[in-house]
């Protein structure tokens, strides 16, 4: 650039005309409901927060729109928040929460320990699938709650009965999800490793399991959410401790605020487990991270 001006001293002092820029292109306005538009992370956060605020607003509105005489059955957000505070501060709610968490943890661990090998074997071997699938997928249609009387007879109002119910509510679905995840492993990955001389065992442990694992962890994440939804049903059985028991007791005294505070707590715990599973998945499968975004 500099060189050009040096070669042309005559132009010193003259006005160099820059060509007029092309007219600015004004893109059409983005609408709120733009097809397949992905909001920015900040905007996502903002919209998510807005949703939560709306939820509480509608709830609060419901409280004030209720006739004053029955308003105590529709507590306000502050009422529930106060009840939550009282629960933790005065009534040792934390112990109940931990008891419930322990039940979820133990039952889900047991269900996973059984569902993983069975699901993977069924996903790999057609004969195993043919042998077990009719029975196990039939079991999925047995309502878990209907086992309550049976479990009471067998175990009494014990921890075992509650854990067993959570276990039964999850295991059959977990098996069939893991079966599908294993079965969905790309056929060519298996064939490629066979043509490289891998033994059946090597194919299973070195290819099928690592290939299916991210999807399996996803299935587990979804099923632990189901376990949380069974929690209250499980803890009604001879209610002594746990979040469900607290709710049953509150129900007897018509303390709707305590019931709602407990429901909120379970929801929150569910969200936390979900986040933990997502974090674990990112940590365990760094090679798979782009899949999420």
């Amino acid at each position: 650039m500099r060189k050009m001006t040096e070669e042309r001293p005559a132009s010193v002092g003259s006005i160099v005309q820059t060509p007029a820029a092309a007219p600015l292109f004004i893109p059409p306005k983005r609408r709120f409901l733009e097809l397949r538009e992905q909001p920015s992370p900040n905007r996502s956060l903002l919209l998510g927060a807005l949703g939560v605020i709306c939820f509480f607003a509608v709830w609060e509105l419901g409280h004030y729109l209720t006739d004053a005489s029955s308003r105590r059955f529709v507590p306000s957000v502050e009422n529930v928040a106060a009840a939550l505070y009282r629960l933790f501060a005065e009534q040792d709610f934390l112990t109940d929460v931990l008891v419930s968490c322990r039940r979820i943890f133990i039952s889900f661990l047991a269900a996973s320990a059984i569902a993983l090998p069975i699901g993977i074997l069924m996903g790999c071997f057609g004969n195993m699938r043919a042998l077990l699938n009719p029975t196990l997928s039939g079991c999925r249609y047995l309502p878990a709650a209907s086992f309550i009387p049976l479990l009471l007879v067998w175990f009494g109002p014990t921890d075992t009965a509650k854990i067993a119910l959570l276990f039964l509510g999850v295991i059959f679905f977990l098996i069939s999800l893991i079966l599908d995840n294993t079965n969905a492993v790309q056929k060519e990955l298996v064939e490629a490793s066979l043509t490289m001389g891998a033994s059946r065992r090597k194919v299973l442990t070195g290819v099928v399991v690592p290939a299916a694992m991210p999807a399996i962890v996803d299935s587990m994440r979804n099923m632990i959410a189901v376990a949380w939804t069974y929690l209250v049903i499980a803890e009604i059985v001879g209610a002594q401790d746990g979040i469900g028991a607290v709710m049953m007791r509150a129900g007897r005294f018509l303390s709707v605020d305590v019931i709602m505070a407990s429901i909120l707590t379970i929801g929150l715990l569910g969200v936390i487990t979900d986040l933990l599973f997502r974090a674990a998945s990112r940590l365990l499968f760094p090679w798979n991270i782009e899949r999420r975004s």
Partner: protein, 279 residues
């Protein structure tokens, strides 16, 4: 991909007096209790160091034949030998490259290439060294620590190529390995292929739908006809005078190229016509 220039001098190969690496004797494959015949009495021999292309219309059994060689399927009748030993199942003496990407996504590029050597028991130090040298050959030395997810389709196929060649198989089988790639990448892969085969002295069987690709890569083309799958023509590419031409434009210039291409297109049309007339 600039390496190709070094191969500008026509590489010659040597198959004439070699004994067969692979012998397929009267192979038939029937499905569903004989109601569908994929392959009907197919026999051929592959000489050492020879590149053979299987060409033919869809459903002509060429993929079945390749999978039988790989040991992934079994013939209903007939006998198949590789290096004098009957084939009973898949094995590392026959390396296979698939059309689908088969890099293991949970392993890095380097670990992928080492995987095959690990299976056949090559010690760790040698494995690493061999893997690095093959990754260099396929121009992936900068991506050794990447996961396959971040690679393009052509790069994934180069990982597969390095992984398979590092095992040093007697026969290299390729099932439309460039079928999913776009035209330019495909061309680059074909040239890389020629370079590598020349270097590693491999006996190769490649399936392709692409007639130009078959002529470019192969020393010999076996054309399959459909339903039942039979060998319609077994063509030695004599017009290449026993040489391989890494540069496509030089190959096309040779007398005999157009005749062969014409002949193959005519055969393909014949097959397609027979299929559409409901034969």
């Amino acid at each position: 991909m600039t390496k190709i220039a070094s191969l500008h001098a026509h590489a010659s190969y040597d198959v004439g007096h070699a004994h067969p690496v692979l012998r397929a004797h009267r192979i038939s494959k029937e499905y569903v209790n004989g109601t569908f015949t994929a392959l009907d009495d197919v026999s051929f021999e592959l000489k050492e160091n020879q590149i053979t292309a299987f060409v033919g219309p869809s459903g002509c059994g060429k993929t079945t034949m390749l999978r039988i060689i790989a040991g992934l399927e079994h013939p209903t009748r007939g006998r198949l030998e590789v290096s004098g030993k009957p084939v009973v199942g898949p094995g590392p003496d026959r390396g296979m490259i698939f059309q689908a990407y088969t890099s293991f996504p949970w392993l890095t590029v380097l670990e992928n290439v080492e995987y095959g050597m690990k299976i056949i028991g090559i010690p760790a130090a040698e494995r690493r060294e061999r893997a690095m040298s093959f990754l260099k050959l396929v121009h992936l030395q900068k991506f050794v620590d990447s996961y396959p997810r971040s690679l393009s389709g052509g790069m994934k196929q180069r990982v597969a190529l390095a992984r398979t060649l590092a095992q040093n198989p007697n026969v290299l089988l390729m099932d439309e390995p460039f079928g999913a790639l776009d035209a330019q990448v495909r061309w680059e892969m074909q040239e890389l292929m020629i370079e590598l085969i020349e270097r590693e002295k491999k006996t190769v069987v490649a399936i392709t739908h692409d007639i130009a690709e078959a002529i470019y890569l192969a020393d010999r083309i076996i054309f399959f006809s459909r339903q039942p799958g039979r060998i319609k023509a077994d063509i030695n590419l004599d017009f290449k005078n026993g040489k391989r031409y890494p540069l496509k434009e030089e190959l096309i210039k040779l007398p005999g190229y157009v005749d062969l291409e014409y002949r193959l297109f005519a055969m393909m049309r014949e097959e397609i016509r027979d299929a559409s007339s409901g034969e």
